[in-house]
């Protein structure tokens, strides 16, 4: 069972973000990056599938030079190959152009299942996986928390959360699944893996290799400006012993905040 992982390097989730001077993006100086948390579930699942059923795991990412670090993480954990889509021509890519690039690259590989994270933390969009699947003409199920294969490896049974409940689907392969928390937990990266990943080659693909035009001219959505949301005014403590404070709080919620 060959697995293709679509991963993204994102701003470390602990980081405080600062808006850059152009007020269109975040300042990148001194910022730490990491594999997107939801992609960790995809990576772990891909390696588990390989361990159980054999086959190859290829990790693929579209991003600037630094994205190679995230690809090396995948190699260290157990991916066999890494592919880096990197080109100034990809700058300004939106969901549509990103999906186009990933799908064009995916067509160069053999895959039975494509795994990605539910969304890239920070970008917080969660639509690229479905777009890639449509472009490749294969099924897609979002937010998978359980993934099992039929004995002949031709079908998958997946479970996913929906608002207030779960759905279970039977899906013919090949297919794309985005991974949600609950699917698994990423193993500790073995030291041996880290050492080995340092020397493994990462294949680079440019826009021209994929027959794609400049993303900036093709992107359908463009960020015009970025700002901080208004800070919440908080900090009001309701004083007194528990009974007094509770009574006053409930009064405030009813009469002042009018939320109950």
């Amino acid at each position: 069972m060959n697995v293709l992982l679509l991963i993204k390097q994102v701003v470390d989730t602990e980081a405080r973000v600062k808006i850059n001077d152009a007020k269109k993006n975040i300042a990148t100086e001194g910022v730490k990056y990491a594999l997107s948390p939801y992609d960790e579930f995809a990576l772990e699942e891909g390696v588990r599938i390989k361990e159980k059923l054999g086959g190859e795991v290829t990790a693929m990412s579209l991003g600037p030079a630094r994205a190679k670090e995230a690809l090396r993480t995948c190699l260290a954990v157990g991916a066999d190959k890494a592919v880096h889509l990197t080109d100034p021509a990809f700058a300004g890519a939106d969901a549509y152009t990103t999906a186009q690039a990933l799908a064009a690259a995916a067509r160069k590989f053999s895959y039975d299942v494509i795994l990605c994270g539910k969304m890239a933390v920070g970008v917080d969009r969660g639509v690229t996986g479905a777009a890639v699947a449509q472009l490749l003409g294969i099924p897609f199920v979002a937010n998978v928390t359980k993934l099992e294969f039929s004995a002949d490896n031709k079908k998958a049974t997946v479970t996913r959360d929906v608002e207030g409940g779960q759905e279970v689907y039977e899906v013919e392969l090949p297919a794309v699944f985005s991974c949600e928390k609950g699917l698994n937990t990423l193993r500790h990266t073995p030291l041996k893996g880290i050492m080995m990943a340092k020397s493994k080659p990462i294949q680079e693909l440019k826009a021209a290799d994929l027959g794609l035009p400049e993303a900036k001219s093709e992107a359908r959505v463009r960020v015009e400006s970025m700002e901080y949301p208004p800070a919440r005014q908080g900090g009001r403590i309701v004083p007194g012993d528990p009974e007094t404070a509770v009574k006053e709080l409930v009064r405030l919620l009813h009469e002042e905040a009018k939320v109950i």
Partner: protein, 331 residues
């Protein structure tokens, strides 16, 4: 005349609130540009839901067996076919799990732009949309515009856009519509659904959320959260900490790698307020925090806080709330 289309998922002859919110917003924006609103209703009983009440001029009701249960390819093809026929300037979708995968699929199928998790939007006279959406887990927000490609696909965050108030007194023109469904849609079959136990309120759409964290000290004490939620008709939530400890299911996790909620009232019991949790609830209209540590970061963003022992305060609060709340507000 510019048209805005929206998709409404119909289950058992009913449409969920996130879809009605998107429809209401479509109406407001269409009015600004002198345009029309068409609702594509998908599912069993698609033609029977009163969508004129929430602003639809026209309803294209698709009630075919292939779309009785959610099927991304079938629903996507249906919407694409109708959008290509009608050529709307924009397509508004509710940002539910189904809505998001539909939006991504359609963006590829229609070669269109998609803006997700939109919390505010504006249109000009020609129907060009400008969206405001949070990024970096709400630490910043961005304004984005679309190119000239149509439709502009917009995913609207639930619980932000108000439902149209009283009925507009308008009746939508309902047309039973048949679409062609590709044979390949049968590659995916919905084989089972699990609905939550009766009385459980869904988290992302809830008007009130009661949430618990590490300050509860042990899993049995999550009952304090549940008792308060029951009295309020509220949904229950949790921090990543107690989810990772196995006290509650990850579906209850609120935060950066959990759910983002924006209820009218968020009550945080025994939650310190790590930034990753705050990003999941900081847009709540009113935040209440109970924690024994006066320095807990949550107090900085809480509208009201009680510094005290959660084991003492929570039961008293539940009791007191019970006196004021006449009937549970359920979603």
């Amino acid at each position: 005349m510019a048209a805005i289309y929206t998709v409404v998922e119909v289950k058992n002859g009913q449409a969920g609130r996130p879809f009605l919110e998107a429809l209401s917003e479509a109406r407001r924006q269409a009015d600004k540009m002198g345009g029309t609103v068409t609702a594509i209703a998908l599912g069993q009983g698609a033609g029977s839901v009163d969508l004129g009440r929430y602003g639809a001029d026209e309803v294209l009701a698709v009630d075919q067996p292939e779309l009785a249960a959610w099927n991304l390819e079938a629903c996507g093809s249906a919407v694409a076919e109708l959008v290509e026929k009608g050529q709307p300037v924009a397509l508004f979708l509710a940002s539910t799990v189904h809505g998001r995968e539909l939006a991504g699929w359609l963006a590829a199928r229609l070669k269109a732009g998609v803006a997700a998790d939109v919390t505010h939007l504006e249109t000009d006279a020609s129907g060009a949309v400008t969206v405001t959406r949070p990024m970096y887990s709400g630490k910043v927000r961005t304004k984005a515009t679309f190119s000239s490609v149509r439709p502009q696909i917009v995913l609207l965050r639930p619980n932000i856009f108000p439902l149209l108030g009283e009925s507009l007194g308008k009746t939508a023109k309902v047309t039973a519509t048949t679409v062609s469904v590709p044979a390949t849609a049968s590659r995916v079959k919905l084989v089972n659904t699990q609905t939550p136990p009766a009385g459980e309120v869904e988290l992302t759409g809830a008007k009130i959320v009661v949430s618990g964290g590490r300050g509860l000290q042990s899993p049995e004490n999550y009952k304090l959260v549940q008792d308060m939620a029951k009295v309020l008709g509220a949904a229950t939530g949790a921090t990543r900490m107690i989810v990772d400890l196995g006290w509650v299911d990850h579906a209850l996790q609120v935060g950066q790698t959990g759910k983002v909620v924006n209820p009218d009232l968020y009550i945080a019991l025994g939650i310190a307020g790590a930034i990753q949790h705050l990003v999941g609830m900081q847009t709540s209209k009113c935040i209440v925090a109970v924690n024994k540590d006066p320095e807990a970061p949550i107090f900085k963003i809480a509208d009201y806080g009680i510094v005290g022992d959660v084991f003492q305060v929570a039961p008293l609060l539940t009791q007191e709330l019970g006196k004021v709340v006449h009937r549970p507000v359920s979603v």
